[in-house]
C-alpha cells in the first residue's frame, strides 16, 4: 500500500522547513519584525497530510490576523505543492491555548521594534499601572511619560520622552 503521509523523519524535516519559511513572514503593521520574532507562532505540526500552524494573536480579534493567515499560507504553499512532502493542506489555527504575552518576543524582535521607533514592552507579566516608564527608543532615556494607554491600534500605547522630546509608541503587553 502506498501512502502520501509523511514518515516521522520526513515530518521533522518538514516542520523545520516550515519554521524557516515562517521566519520570513513579517508583521503587517511593523514589517521590520517577523511573526516568529514577535512570538505569534506557537505549534507547527504535521497531522497526516496536513501542516498545521498555530498562531497566537497579540490581541483578541486583531484585524491583522487575516493578513497574517494569508501570508502564512502563501509562504508554505511551495512546501505543500512539493510532491515529495506528502502534504495536501496547510491549516492556520488562531489559538488562545496559551495567551500571547510580551515575554514571547525574541531578543532580535525587541531590537527590531526599537529600530522601528517602538519601545518594547516589559518582559514580565506586569500590567499597566505597575509598569515602569517605557524606555525611549530614540535616546534610551527612562525619563518618559505615558501620554495615553490607548494608541493608534489596540496593541500600542503613546508615550513622550522628556529627555529628547520625542513622542513614541510602545507595544503593549496584553
Amino acid at each position: 500500500m502506498t501512502t502520501a503521509t509523511a514518515r516521522p523523519p520526513a515530518r521533522a524535516a518538514l516542520v523545520r522547513a516550515a519554521r524557516a519559511r515562517l521566519a520570513t513572514v513579517v508583521d503587517p503593521e511593523i514589517p521590520a519584525i517577523s511573526i516568529v520574532d514577535l512570538g505569534l507562532v506557537d505549534g507547527v505540526t504535521v497531522d497526516d497530510a496536513t501542516l498545521v500552524v498555530e498562531i497566537l494573536p497579540t490581541f483578541i480579534g486583531c484585524p491583522a490576523i487575516e493578513l497574517i493567515r494569508a501570508a502564512v499560507i502563501e509562504q508554505l504553499e511551495p512546501l505543500r505543492a512539493d510532491p515529495d512532502s506528502g502534504l495536501e493542506r496547510v491549516e492556520v489555527l488562531i489559538s488562545f491555548r496559551e495567551p500571547w504575552t510580551a515575554a514571547r518576543i525574541s531578543e532580535r524582535g525587541r531590537a527590531a521594534l526599537v529600530a522601528s521607533g517602538f519601545a518594547p514592552p516589559g518582559s514580565g507579566p506586569q500590567l499597566v499601572g505597575l509598569a515602569p516608564p517605557a524606555t525611549c527608543p530614540y535616546c534610551g532615556s527612562r525619563r518618559t511619560v505615558l501620554e495615553n494607554a490607548f494608541g493608534p491600534t489596540r496593541c500600542r500605547s503613546i508615550h513622550y520622552c522628556t529627555a529628547c522630546r520625542q513622542p513614541f509608541e510602545q507595544f503593549k503587553d496584553a
Binding site: 497531522d47 497526516d48 497530510a49 496536513t50 490581541f59 483578541i60 480579534g61 486583531c62 493542506r89 489559538s95 488562545f96 491555548r97 496559551e98 495567551p99 500571547w100 504575552t101 507579566p125 500590567l127 499597566v128 499601572g129 501620554e147 495615553n148 494607554a149 490607548f150 494608541g151 493608534p152 489596540r154 503613546i158 503593549k172 496584553a174
Partner: protein, 265 residues
C-alpha cells in the same frame, strides 16, 4: 484518527443550552457596551479620550466576537447571525449595559462598574472546565487591565474635581449603580454550569468579591455603593425588560446588517 474526523465537542452532551446561556450573556454585554461606547468616537471631551474610548470600544467588540464565535461553534451557526439576526428582546445583556451612554460621567461610571464586575467574572472563568472558554477568559482578562486603570482614574478625577463634575458623578452613580450587580446576577442555568465546573464560582461569591473591590475605591472618594435594585439580582429580570435607550441603540447597530444580511465584508 482521520483528518476528516469530528471536531472535539466544546462541552459534554446535555450542557449545550446551559453553556450557550453563559456565552450569550458574556457576548451580549461586551457587544452592547462596545457599541454604545463607540458613539463617543469624534465627540469625546478631548483627543486623548477620543483615542482611548475608540480603543476601549474596539476591545469590547473584539471580545464579543470571540464569545459569539465560540457560541457559533457550539450551536453550529455563524457568529454574525448569532449577534445581529434576532429581535431586540432576544438580546441578553445586563441592566447595567441597558442604560444609554448619557454624559461623560455616566459613561465613565458605567465603564468602571462594568469593567470591575466583568474582571471578577472572567477571573472566575479562567479555571473553567470548558477549556476554549477558559482560554479566551485568560486573554480577555489580560487585555482589560488597561480598562480597569482607565475607568478608576476617571471616577477618582471626577470626584476630586468637585463642583459640576462631582454632581454629575453623583447622578451617574445613583442612576446606574443599583443596576451594576446585574452583570453578576445568577443565570437560570447556574446550578448546572456550576455542577459541571464550567462556572467554577457562583454569582453570590462573585458579587462578594466585586463589592470588596469597588467599595474601598468609592470610600476613598467619599462615595458609597448604592444598594442593588431588586431586578438587578433577579435571574428572570437582570437580562430582560430592555428600555428605550437600548431599543434605539439596537435599531441603529443592526441597521447596516438589515440592509443586506447576505453581504460579504
Amino acid at each position: 484518527m482521520t483528518a476528516a474526523g469530528p471536531a472535539h465537542p466544546i462541552v459534554e452532551a446535555g450542557l449545550e443550552r446551559s453553556l450557550a446561556e453563559l456565552l450569550l450573556a458574556l457576548a451580549d454585554d461586551d457587544f452592547v457596551l462596545g457599541f454604545a461606547d463607540s458613539e463617543w468616537t469624534g465627540i469625546a471631551p478631548h483627543l486623548e479620550e477620543d483615542v482611548a474610548m475608540s480603543s476601549l470600544a474596539q476591545d469590547e467588540l473584539a471580545h464579543a466576537a470571540a464569545w459569539y464565535g465560540l457560541l457559533a461553534q457550539l450551536t453550529g451557526g455563524d457568529a454574525d447571525r448569532v449577534a445581529y439576526d434576532r429581535p431586540s428582546t432576544a438580546v441578553r445583556h445586563s441592566r447595567l449595559v441597558d442604560h444609554g451612554r448619557g454624559d461623560w460621567a455616566r459613561t465613565m461610571t458605567r465603564r468602571w462598574l462594568y469593567d470591575t464586575a466583568n474582571a471578577v467574572r472572567i477571573e472566575g472563568l479562567a479555571s473553567s472546565t470548558c477549556r476554549p472558554l477558559a482560554d479566551i477568559a485568560v486573554k480577555v482578562r489580560r487585555e482589560e487591565a488597561y480598562h480597569l486603570a482607565h475607568g478608576q482614574a476617571w471616577v477618582e478625577r471626577l470626584a476630586q474635581a468637585g463642583g459640576e463634575s462631582r454632581r454629575r458623578l453623583d447622578d451617574a452613580l445613583a442612576l446606574v449603580g443599583p443596576d451594576a450587580p446585574s452583570v453578576l446576577a445568577p443565570l437560570e442555568s447556574e446550578a448546572a454550569l456550576q455542577a459541571a465546573g464550567i462556572l467554577p464560582t457562583g454569582s453570590a461569591e462573585l458579587l462578594e468579591r466585586w463589592t470588596a473591590r469597588v467599595e474601598p475605591v468609592l470610600g476613598r472618594i467619599g462615595l458609597g455603593l448604592p444598594p442593588a435594585a431588586p431586578a438587578a439580582l433577579d435571574p428572570a429580570m437582570a437580562r430582560s425588560g430592555h428600555g428605550p435607550d437600548f431599543e434605539a441603540l439596537w435599531a441603529e447597530l443592526t441597521s447596516v446588517r438589515r440592509l443586506d444580511p447576505e453581504a460579504a465584508w
